[in-house]
Symmetry: C2
Subunit: 294 residues, 2 copies
């Protein structure tokens, strides 16, 4: 079904989203504070509207993708009268709390709020590698899910709490992805001490991410979600010995081992909590407020 | 071509290797210190030989896979007279230095040495997901590469330095893989504070590892291997702001953020070295002995 959609903010990601909606046959209006930056969109059949209230009035579905929650809040404060009966999808990155506050603000002015955690690059939008995780107003989601899911092949709805996308983003992009990238760069620095190139190591890292994916799906997930930490594989104690060994080798080669040292510490905290004979997934229990294995 | 191969050590990995060789049509002899542990191999057409010198004499190609370099060294000291003209492939995990010492020892007794870094699980051996990286004696490698590559679809030869497989293993299994796993467990701990399950997060992590693999191959590798750190994407300064933001959110939820804090520190060290306006891959330059961008 063809929708009428207004995209607010036409940076790299906003432009990718607007073009993807247009390609899918929707009637798209775009607005951007700096008018000139919208120009490249005119060739995609998108209406460029310089007046924000006019742009918002044109569509029931509004997709916001500006620099920050502060900017989004500031813009929306000027147009509260047009929010009634609108569905506001917010692709801005922020905290779970900011998303909940934004949801209340939209709701107070008669609109429905969906938060969107965009976990891919602009060039991925519309393709199978694109992932946008939505959360918030369930009825609004049900109404627009087809339109929104077409933005990315790996997208989905996390639940009615509007905080979920931002929490997922901080967890996955922040705590997982960028640490994993940093870990690769520690590995590559060490490899370089014996002449290994990133071209030698990157294919191995890609291969090992395949193994890690299988481990997360088949072993870590059942352990964590069922609270079962017995193991017939390497125990935490055995694993700590291996990690110490690897770390010594890197230290001897003059590496700082920032992430490796922090990882060893995480493992030692789990052991100090009494999990030395359990699986390495017990780190899950001791990375924050302590939880108990069931 | 059918070879005669002796496998020394029949733990989980040694047994997998011996069975894979037998399946490929080679004549395989196995030896293990604890005889009873060899028993399951008798059904695979493998000759179980309780006497080590006899087992070694039977084959020119010897595959060692015991608990440690110390154990390997101790065993080989008792059979130095049978090492002449043998090719010893060592699958034991150790340091680069240990591998170089072992290579000298084997060479001093007239043999050729290949080190093997096994970067997969026993159940993978022989399949496309198996990866064993070899290093050492070039002529021996050329002679047995077909036989050895059949152990794993993603295997290969790193070069004539016998240290390369152990260094690669410490880099990839130690500095990369187990830190990435720890990072997932920090992410999952945080996700649990708003009720997200590992079953929700693992598919996202798997998806993001696809993106990370592409980044490592197409962006990090050319940057590192050419020493080019200019960027038209997010600079280190911009990235640091995002990482601080994510970390604050986790801290506010009561997380310890061990790895995230270490990662932030790695980024800040790169910035302190003057790379704030360059790409995030400059971490590579400041993770150990400082290097300069070319």
């Amino acid at each position: 079904m063809s929708e009428t959609i207004t995209v607010v903010g036409t940076g790299l990601m906003g432009s990718a989203v607007a073009k993807c909606f247009a390609r899918a046959g929707h009637r798209v209006t775009a607005w951007n504070r700096t008018r000139e930056r919208m120009a490249p969109l005119s060739q995609s059949g998108i209406v460029l509207e310089p007046d924000l209230p006019t742009a918002l009035r044109r569509s029931r579905l509004l997709f916001l993708i500006v620099a920050s929650y502060e900017v989004a809040q500031e813009l929306l404060q000027t147009v509260t009268e047009v929010l009634a009966d609108r569905v506001v999808v917010n692709g801005v990155t922020g905290t779970g709390l900011q998303a909940r506050e934004m949801a209340e603000f939209i709701s107070a002015h008669g609109g429905a709020y969906l938060d969107a955690g965009i976990m891919c690059y602009p060039l991925d939008i519309g393709g199978p590698a694109a992932m946008i995780k939505f959360g918030g107003h369930k009825t609004a989601w049900e109404q627009y899910s087809r339109t929104l899911l077409a933005l990315g092949g790996a997208s989905g709805y996390l639940g009615s709490d509007p905080a979920l996308p931002n929490v997922t983003d901080a967890a996955m992009a922040g705590a997982f992805y960028n640490v994993a990238l940093g870990a690769y760069l520690e590995a590559a620095s060490f490899g370089a001490t014996v002449g290994l190139k990133s071209a030698d190591l990157a294919p191995i890292a890609i291969h090992m991410m395949g193994l890690l994916g299988r481990l997360l799906r088949d072993e870590a997930t059942p352990a964590i979600d069922r609270g079962r930490y017995e193991t017939d594989q390497a125990t935490l104690d055995v694993y700590i010995a291996a990690v110490r060994h690897w770390r010594e080798e890197l230290l001897n080669a003059g590496q700082r081992c920032g992430l490796m040292s922090a990882n060893l510490h995480n493992l030692e905290v789990a052991r100090a909590a009494g999990y030395g004979g359990h699986s390495i997934y017990t780190q899950f229990l001791t990375n924050g407020v302590e939880r108990k294995a069931s």
